[in-house]
Amino acid sequence: MNILFILIVPFILAVLPSVVKKPRLLGILNSVGYLFVLLCSLWLVLKPDMVVSPSRFFYIDALSIFFIFTISIVTFSAALFSVDYIERDISSFFISRNKARAYYTFFNIFSLSMFFVPMVRNLALGWVAIEMTTLASAFLVGFYNTKSSIEAAWKYIMVCSVGIIFALFGTIVFYYASSCVGVKNLNWADMVSASHSMDKNLIKIAFLFILVGYGTKAGLAPMHTWLPDAHSQAISPISALLSGVLLKTAIYAILRFTIITNECVGSDFSSKLFIIFALISLGVSAGFIIIQKQMKRLLAYSSIEHVGVIFLGFGFGGVIGLYGALFHVLNHAVTKSLMFFGAANIIKKYKKDNMNIMRGVISSMPFTGTMFILGMFALIGMPPFSIFFSELLILMAGLGKGLYLASGLYLFFIALIFGGILFHFSKVLFGDKPDGMACAKEGASVKIVFIFLFILTVVLGLAMPGFLNKIIASSVAILGGA
């Protein structure tokens, strides 16, 4: 039942703007709706054994619940953050009130399609859901209708469409391989059970297509070219959604196919590919972070880095590696949302996004500045924040497997990025604030979002709640780490 609630709420909220005209009221209703969704998904996490999928259309296991939970955390924070953000956009005449209503409609279509991805039983329908996420979010990337945002949206929609075509090609080849052994329905569970007898070569080729295709959407280098543009040009609450969870839905899709592939050809094949792509992503992001000038672009490249870390964890494998990777999925979603919201406030206040001339954020916006600095430490992997622990787990997995070169490169790139982010952001955070700039006061809803996300990063780092631990452990078992 809860699963249906999670889908119905965004659907209702998507049509709501045609009835409710006031943007602020819409924003508040939106947040309440997503609070409800968050509670529903929390219930799923607490009682995973009691989850029954409402029809043959859905397939819910621990792995899906974990991703649903991650998505609901970020959608809730983005919804709450949007209330003030959109209102300020309206009052400074960036957008009209009608446009604000369109924003809420697209926001909800986008979230709805993201919630679909981990729920559907059929792999091709999962593909449709992922393509819908691209189409819905393209409008949100090009939301301000400026030259640069439309350019980013076009690049986004084109590059991801090509990626998604490759993914569909892979899906069809998977289908062919399974139909040769009698499974003709593309249902994930049936395909897993039939995977032993599938043609090994065919599965390998299909998996390559899947990895390149969905990898484009997940932001793996060298297919990442759309990502920095789209994330930096999107309206800020959406940047958090794109980076925090859109990439994760593509990762989820890859994982489902990985399970079939590993059953068929052994885990060596996918592991090697994951490690190679992960290291390329880490290297590319490290280079671009160091020379970066814009705050949101820097955060976008940092997303590529973290996707790389996640795939490295999956590539290293074993219980520790898989656990670390899944844990990192959640940690990155939480921390990166915090950072994008912080950057959004800062850019709004300074009216520019150039880190070479912005100074004194701590003194001009004490609350956002403090949260931003703490979030920065969390993002670059300082203890006691959660990202430190997941990155450590992944490192341990690599060393445990004896993959010293990959682990060494991983440490090296992480250290470079550590230095790069610290250098760029400390310039912006400290120093004298510009003359005549008043101290900023954030609204209550904005403060709640920051504190909520910050508490999550700390709690996940220091004292992982037992129920969450259990759901990640059972997801690891599904991924074959048992």
Partner: protein
């Protein structure tokens, strides 16, 4: 059967050779027509009602509606006819032929198929997909990129309907819907680009660097 596949590939070549937008759309329409015929032929062979419906949808969407939509865009934007060649037609054709050869070698060497005709279909669709990708990368107008995307999708339909005997029915319908929605959304963005930049030359979209 083979004649349809060869038709589809040849239409890919004419798309690569096309110098003007209208002829690009016309080639795409012809390619979709051959795809429709191939699917229709499969439907007759397998006597499957679902494949008939899929063929009908192909005819409706890809042969009639989408090319009409694209021609409308060309007419309304009054764009000058060039499609933004990045490589000249002859070199492009050579590359396209080479892509076909690579697809053929790849298919026959790496994969073992149940029958020779399946292997042929698979290599044909792989090569159509690759040529579509080539058009997307090496043609600089937003609209020609959309057509490249559609050509890639034609390759996909070919592999779905001929090699694997059609995907599950509701999946095919969902994918059709998806293609249609994406083309409409591409169209909306093309209009927006045209309005903001007064052209749709993608190679000149370069405000975002690094």
């Amino acid at each position: 059967m083979y004649i349809f596949l060869i038709g589809i590939i040849i239409m890919s070549y004419t798309m690569v050779m096309a110098k003007r937008m209208t002829s690009l759309v016309a080639s795409f329409r012809m390619q979709s027509l051959f795809l429709f015929l191939a699917t229709f032929f499969m439907a007759m062979k397998e006597k499957s009602a679902e494949l008939y419906i899929v063929a009908g949808l192909l005819l409706l969407l890809k042969v009639i509606l989408i090319p009409k939509f694209l021609s409308d865009i060309i007419r309304k934007l009054k764009m000058e006819e060039g499609i933004g060649l990045f490589l000249n037609p002859l070199v492009s054709l050579l590359i396209a032929v080479f892509l076909t050869y690579i697809s053929y070698v790849f298919t026959t060497r790496v994969i073992t198929f149940a029958s020779a005709s399946q292997a042929f279909s698979f290599s044909a669709s792989l090569s159509v997909t690759m040529i579509g990708l080539f058009i997307m990368i090496f043609r600089m107008k937003a609209l020609s990129q959309v057509i490249g995307f559609l050509a890639m999708e034609n390759g996909l339909f070919l592999v779905a309907s001929t090699v694997s005997g059609g995907m599950p029915f509701f999946v095919e319908i969902a994918i059709f819907m998806d293609v249609f929605v994406s083309v409409v959304i591409f169209g909306i963005f093309i209009y927006r680009i045209n309005k903001l930049f007064t052209h749709i030359d993608v190679s000149k979209l370069n405000t975002l660097r690094r």
